[in-house]
């Protein structure tokens, strides 16, 4: 008599899943986690991603003064001097400075002090065995420097030690305060989300995004449906031509596709020339007016997406039993009636599927917009994903705000997640999940 659970992890299954899981965890899951983490930081170009170091700078001292740090401490921190002592000579030796040069420094400059680097360096240059390279001279000079100013410390501990060494009897908490302020890396914050909510821009971009998704989606579904149905009725040579033509945008590399649209809508482009010949307003349609820019954006994306609908709808059409169509023709149904009463009812699920699938991919798409209108004119055609991308990775001023960008991406992730779950419910995901039938 034995008892056993019918479902056991299959070793082969685990082995088969491992590569996929590794890749998905690495490049999907981990990035999502990192994005969620970054969303709560003020990470930017200036703070760096990998963490910062501790450095006291002139500007920092100025802002510390504003914060009310006492003048004496500030002054002590600001001072930078060069003292030629035994410790300095030792330091120079470990830094690899030429031994002869060190000896000369020790002999000739011992116990002298300088207040500026240039003065000290000028003095060093007079020594007979001074190094030929400027850098070696600077290295030698820096060994004698007595300052925390502009020195980068990797850890807080080192910074505090250096501060304590520099400052005699610092006021209570001053060392900690300075060390905290001197950190150059990122810190935790929820400001990103707060700022997004406050910024009036946010809502305009949300509006743009909704507008873009809804219209493009409508174009995709309607045109996809239209194409599927018409090519279904056309003789095969004609339908073949049109389906190839409409599939082209999908397989054309996006860079080329974008520039083809430029050629089509640009100043001196195709439409421009025709419009001019016809006496119609001719301008750069891609960027010349808000309405035409939106039209272009929606067409550019719509033409790519329509083929997706077309493929799925065509498949669904072919699955309709031909007898039903014949029967309806015998009954005298007109083409329109046939579409309305026989074909469309069969299309309910494909339409729903295309709609949900495309909503998600449109929400996160920005490549085409970026390469065509680039969100312009002004920022009238900027959508959420594009703005997130620009904020985080691509802007002219070069100050990439990873934290803010991540927060924007995270919002997109959240919206996508919610929509996906709704869709999974809608498509009765459970029914797609039959259990393995072989139980061993």
């Amino acid at each position: 008599m034995r008892t056993s659970s019918p479902y056991r992890a299959n070793l082969l299954g685990l082995a088969f899943m491992t590569p996929a899981m590794v890749l998905l965890l690495g490049f999907f899951f981990l990035p999502v986690v990192l994005t969620s983490v970054f969303a709560f930081t003020n990470m930017s170009t200036a703070t760096g991603i990998s963490g910062g170091s501790y450095v006291v700078t002139g500007n920092l001292l100025r802002s510390l003064t504003d914060e009310g740090l006492d003048a004496k401490t500030i002054k002590a921190l600001r001072q930078s001097s060069y003292i030629i002592d035994q410790a300095g000579l030792e330091k120079a030796r470990t830094a690899g400075v030429d031994a002869k040069f060190i000896t000369e420094i020790g002999e000739r400059l011992k116990d002298r002090s300088f207040t500026s680097s240039s003065a000290f360096e000028r003095e060093l240059k007079t020594l007979p065995s001074r190094p030929t390279r400027v850098r070696d001279l600077k290295i030698a000079a820096s060994a004698f420097e007595q300052s925390v100013l502009n020195v980068r410390y990797a850890s807080r501990g080192e910074m505090e030690a250096a501060l304590s060494h520099m400052l005699e009897n610092p006021p209570q908490g001053a060392v900690e305060q300075i060390a905290t302020a001197s950190y150059t890396g990122w810190t935790w914050t929820t400001e990103n989300f707060k700022n997004l909510v406050i910024a009036p821009d946010t809502w305009r971009i949300v509006g743009n995004t909704v507008f873009y998704v809804v219209l493009t989606l409508a174009f995709n579904v309607l045109v996809g449906l239209f194409l599927a149905i018409t090519t279904f009725y056309l003789p095969s040579a004609g339908s073949g031509f049109f389906s190839i033509l409409w599939l082209l945008p999908r397989i054309t590399p996006v860079v080329l596709y974008a520039v083809m649209w430029k050629w089509f809508t640009w100043e001196d482009g195709f439409v421009f020339n025709i419009a001019q010949d016809l006496g119609l307003p001719a301008f750069n349609y891609m960027k010349g007016s808000v309405a035409s820019a939106w039209t272009v954006v929606i067409l550019v994306n719509g033409f790519v997406g329509a083929s997706f609908g077309m493929i799925l709808f065509s498949g669904a059409l072919k699955a309709i039993p031909v007898q039903q169509l014949w029967a309806s023709e015998v009954d005298g149904a007109s083409r329109w009636q046939q579409i309305r009463y026989i074909i469309l009812p069969h299309m309910r699920w494909p339409i729903l599927f295309v709609t949900s699938y495309q909503t998600l991919s449109l929400l996160s798409s920005y490549e085409q917009i970026w390469l065509t209108t680039n969100g312009g004119p002004g920022s009238t055609t900027t959508v959420w994903a594009l703005e997130a991308f620009k904020t985080a990775l691509n802007n002219y001023t070069g100050n990439l705000q990873y934290g803010l960008g991540a927060a924007m991406a995270l919002i997109l992730v959240a919206v996508g997640l919610v929509l996906s779950i709704v869709y999974l419910r809608l498509f009765r995901f459970d029914e797609m999940m039959s259990k393995p039938k072989i139980e061993f």
Binding site: L245, L247, A385
Partner: protein, 274 residues
């Protein structure tokens, strides 16, 4: 089946709707072989000069190295996507796994995910792995981004293979691996082929990922190359040359597409139910 209705209004509407595409692709082809006087629509001379970039690297820079890189990129990514999807799709379709439901719905969600917006996260992962600015890194990322799609498609194809064939294999004494390898895999060949085509075309066209994750000129792919050529600020800027480069870039994809059109149309042959 065109008895109860006249076909021409539909064809007319279809033609009008398709006109922009038709014009764009027609001129893409025509312009590469001809010159057109400024302000005019129709070309006035036939020429091959726009194709000289193929042999003369001084025009737009060497085109063959990016072509090779692109091929390397697209084909390695294709191999990864197809092999990983072929195994994972089978496991999810047929094998008992812990958290199978969860994994499957997770993949379903990722399938339609704003993956590219996570690029900073991806960058960090690559950096940790020491793969930033390397072709390997971009290939892995691109392949991973395509995996949910691939796994889902392959699962669909596997689902369509009758269980009995698999059971028969097991009864015949073959291990599950042998069954997969010798019996099931041949059944999903059409799926593998469509996925391979899709992956290759997708990899061939990829622009964003190489640009961001491997900006070094050593790994320049054709999309980046084309983008440089298309930069109106460059002194070599010439629209017809750009179109020639663009056509050259698209030709392999077009060829695959024409050859395997039906396969591509059948990518959802395994059934995206609903």
């Amino acid at each position: 089946m065109t008895r109860n209705f006249a076909a021409w209004p539909i064809i007319l509407l279809l033609t009008v709707l398709s006109l922009p595409l038709f014009v764009m692709y027609l001129f893409l082809l025509v312009d590469t072989f001809s010159n057109t006087a400024p302000g005019s629509l129709l070309p006035n001379e036939f020429t091959l000069e726009h194709w000289r970039f193929l042999i003369d690297p001084t025009i737009t820079g060497d085109v063959w190295k990016p072509t090779l890189t692109t091929f390397l990129f697209a084909s390695s990514m294709m191999v990864i996507v197809v092999s990983v999807s072929a195994t994972a799709g089978y496991a999810l379709s047929r094998l008992a796994l812990p958290f199978r439901r969860f994994v499957l719905s997770g993949i379903m969600v990722m399938h339609a995910f704003p993956s590219v917006t996570l690029i900073i996260g991806v960058f960090l992962v690559l950096q940790f792995a020491g793969l930033y600015n390397s072709l390997t890194g971009v290939i892995l990322v691109k392949a991973s981004l395509m995996l949910p799609f691939g796994i889902w498609i392959m699962k669909g194809f596997y689902d369509a293979v009758p269980w009995e064939i698999e059971m028969a294999g097991v009864q015949d004494g073959a291990s599950r691996f042998t069954v997969w390898r010798r019996i099931i895999l041949p059944q999903v060949k059409p799926g593998l082929l469509s996925l391979a085509l899709f992956a290759f075309i997708d990899g061939w066209s990829e622009y964003m990922l190489p640009r961001i994750l491997a900006p070094s000129s050593d790994f320049e792919v054709l999309s980046m190359y084309l983008n440089t050529v298309s930069d109106p600020n460059s002194s070599t800027y010439n629209f017809n040359i750009f179109k020639s480069v663009g056509l050259f870039y698209t030709l392999p994809v077009l060829a695959l597409f024409v050859l395997f059109q039906n396969r591509l149309m059948n990518i959802f042959g395994g059934g995206t139910k609903g």
